[in-house]
């Protein structure tokens, strides 16, 4: 289904101003058309009702939860979007569409946002949606006693309050033109005021929970009172986990699941060549990089880092390792398909002369350079090997260390000189920059400490003028590109496998299977 149909289906129209805002701002927007490359075209046929949809995902955790503050895994997001709604919802361009809110508008400085909430929304148990519920659902993440994974997201929110029976006002510490996108993030699923027990979750979303077995699976039944008329299309969803990539592909091909996440390697070809199944691709700014810890030797040597950036054959990585499922990167976190992309920066390529120039200048000599890679960062071992081989041709002696995945993020990443890092897409580039490139940020694995960069990140979020914002984002990219702290060779598509009977998915660039939000989009062709 296209964005327009969704909007008509919801019976809403954005105010012109709000729409302009949505079009202009951050998002991880993808230039039109690109998002659909390689993906099955959304069918125009009328959706059909009924059926059981079985979905197998690639992560499994005994920490499975319906508590919006405890979300960290794919499965939490999928379960969350099936049961709860958010005020806004991300579309395939990475912009915020209205959901529970029928419109939203900022004040002139973007420090206050007003959300008009749709009338007559009820929970699956019949209770009406109250404004207090929305206030609670957002403000609970600010509670010091609650360990919330959304804490960094709400840091900029000063207050949320109800203004009348159908209006929510959000006041911000600093201007944020991207707030509608952030507020559509999974952690801001709307729950009843005061909810602390999430074992029997109740939301306004398209499905009700039938059975919830943490670490094993979840089954859902249709919410007959869902506020979007005619939706959801399927009667039941069963969500379960298959960790092994081969087993996952087999489950799809044998018909045990109609949708599976994260196909890899030969499984992609296998699914492509089958008649009844298709590959569902979502280009997005997910990446695996090799990053230098810039606060210690030898990785504080900028020339050494720059030498590495010229030592990887990006095209080869894309073609052979990723099977074409990605987009070449230019050593900063913004994708070339984004309107924010800095076209003035030359694309880095395998260039032994330039690599040698920087390597000699670094004075590193014949010592061994260790790079830590891990399964925790997908494809990092392949990236490491590609760099290692080219490095040997200029006399740079690289040793790859493969670390176990389960403790990698706590023990290794950013704590040794050169480590592999992986980031899933954030709904806006600004969120990612704040999380991963700001001085002192927890996930700033390169330990970049650059007040000028911090200021640019703030300005990018608060500048309403689009041309100026573009300029600031351009300068941010140049700073990171020149820092010698990161090799970011490719962005990694999300690659899922689906039965050709599954219709209605759209590639939303924040996650697998319509940005982890397929429950009221999908239908099964009978």
């Amino acid at each position: 289904m296209t964005k327009d149909e969704a909007r008509n289906g919801n019976g809403t129209v954005l105010t012109r101003r709000a729409f302009n805002q949505a079009a202009l701002v951050g998002g991880i927007g993808i230039a039109s058309g690109a998002a659909l490359l390689g993906a099955p075209q959304p069918a125009r046929a009328a959706p059909t009702r009924g059926g059981l949809l079985r979905v197998a995902t690639h992560t499994q955790s005994t920490n499975d939860t319906f508590d919006t503050a405890k979300y960290i895994y794919t499965n939490d997001y999928i379960r969350g979007t099936s049961v709860y709604n958010t005020l806004t919802i991300l579309n395939e361009k990475g912009q915020a569409d209205p959901e529970l809110a029928e419109s939203f508008e900022p004040n002139d400085t973007a420090t206050r946002w007003v959300f008009k909430i749709r009338k007559g929304i009820t929970y699956s148990d019949g209770a009406p949606l109250a404004m207090d519920d929305i206030v609670y659902s957002i403000m609970r993440h600010k509670d010091a006693k609650l360990a919330s994974s959304a804490k960094p997201l709400v840091a900029n929110i000063k207050d949320v309050k109800a203004d009348g029976p159908d209006t929510i006002v959000i006041d911000l510490e600093a201007p944020d033109v991207d707030l509608p996108i952030m507020i559509g993030t999974f952690q801001f699923g709307i729950i009843k005021n005061g909810t602390t027990d999430f074992s029997h979750p109740v939301g306004t979303g398209p499905f009700k929970v039938k059975e919830f077995k943490p670490g094993v699976g979840t089954s859902f039944t249709r919410n007959p009172n869902y506020w979007k008329s005619g939706k959801p299309y399927v009667d039941e969803i069963e969500l379960f986990y298959i960790l092994d990539p081969v087993a996952r592909a087999n489950a799809l091909l044998s018909g045990d699941a109609q949708m599976v996440t994260d196909l890899r390697g030969t499984a992609i070809d296998q699914v492509k060549s089958s008649e009844a199944f298709a590959v569902f691709t979502t280009p997005c700014p997910r990446y695996t990089s090799i990053q230098a810890a810039t606060d210690r030797p030898p990785s504080n040597n900028r020339d050494l880092g720059l030498a590495l950036t010229y030592l990887i054959d990006r095209k080869r990585l894309l073609d052979t390792v990723l099977k074409g499922q990605g987009v070449i990167g230019n050593d900063h976190p913004i994708m070339s398909t984004s309107p924010l992309y800095n076209k003035a920066l030359p694309q880095r390529e395998l260039d032994l002369d330039k690599a040698k120039y920087h390597f000699v200048k670094s004075g590193f000599g014949t010592a061994k350079l260790e790079i830590d890679v891990s399964d925790a960062a997908p494809f990092s071992a392949d990236i490491g090997q590609l760099i290692q081989r080219e490095a040997s041709r200029i006399g740079l002696n690289i040793e790859l260390k493969r670390d176990p995945a389960d403790s990698y993020w706590n023990v290794v990443a950013g704590k040794r000189p050169f480590t592999a890092i992986n980031f899933n897409p954030r709904p806006t580039y600004n969120m990612l920059l704040n999380l991963a490139y700001r001085s002192g940020a927890v996930w700033n694995f390169s330990h970049i400490n650059d007040p000028a960069l911090d200021k640019m990140i703030d300005d990018a979020r608060s500048t309403p003028d689009a041309a100026k914002r573009l300029e600031i984002y351009g300068a941010i990219q140049k700073t990171i590109y020149d820092s010698g702290s990161i090799v970011l060779p490719c962005f990694l598509n999300y690659v899922d496998g689906i039965s050709k009977k599954v219709k209605g998915l759209v590639p939303v660039p924040v996650g697998n299977l319509s940005g982890f939000n397929f429950a009221d989009r999908v239908w099964l062709e009978s």
Partner: protein, 325 residues
Amino acid sequence: MHPSLRFALRRFAVGALILLAVSLLVFVGCEILPGDVAQVALGQFATPESIRALHQQFGLDRPAPLRYLEWLIGILHGDWGMSMGTKVPVAQLLGERLANTAMLAGATTIVAIPLALALGLLMALRAGSRFDRAASVVVLALSATPEFLIGTLAVMLFSVHLNWLPAVAQVTFGGGWAALARSLLLPVITLSIVVAAQIARMTRATIVNLLDLPFIEMATLKGVPRRRIILVHALINAVGPIANVVALNIAYLVSGIVVVETIFAFPGVARLMVDAVQARDLPVVQACAMLFCFAYVVLILAADLLAVLFNPRLRRGIHPDGSAG
């Protein structure tokens, strides 16, 4: 006191001591595991404040020896604590997985063990024959083939190509007995092949070894038929070693089949433990580890008791090497 009873009581006491020692090892192991439950639970959004909040909530800010004692006393009362990740009692989390594992291990045991013993005996009966040599090669090859290969090949053939059986053992959401049996078939076949091959080899080897002993020679000289020698005289003496192999294999079915559980996406306890380790959900890890050790101790104990009952020398309290016990 009867020597066998004394033997049994002594073994019970030793088993309890082993479990106590293991509990300490498990706890210490979990303590020194790098990584931290709060960090893992909060993922990429972790901040020092939220980590501290979670630590307090889990009581991880208190000294380790105190936590060990509380945990131990809890276990003795049948209280395994609360899962840190899901906030449900560990016993509840474990219960369903354990039922699944028991079902898979039970079905495999029922299929594999009679099959293995029969095959082993047949091979021993015809030791040196063409059948024996052919069977030995096949059994050796199968016991050396990793189960992920057997499992994956079986799925490729029966699920993807022939479309007869489901590729994953989805036992979670209803479906009735027929569906359950269908989904269990492939994992049971896979495990049975691996387990049966090993037990058959051991059975054959044990009995063939016994056949060289003087008392068998004596029986042969007295004109006892070969079939009777093996089934009556040799088999009784082979019960000890065979029971041990069988016990080890059943214990393996309970605790060590994480690869098969992964291939078939089967929700058993082995997978639960791996997931819990990754989530650093230590109460669950500790409970799984204790459970696995308990299974080993009980099964080996049962095998030893069986060996004593069937071995007159052990029954009289004398060790197999001839010394008085």
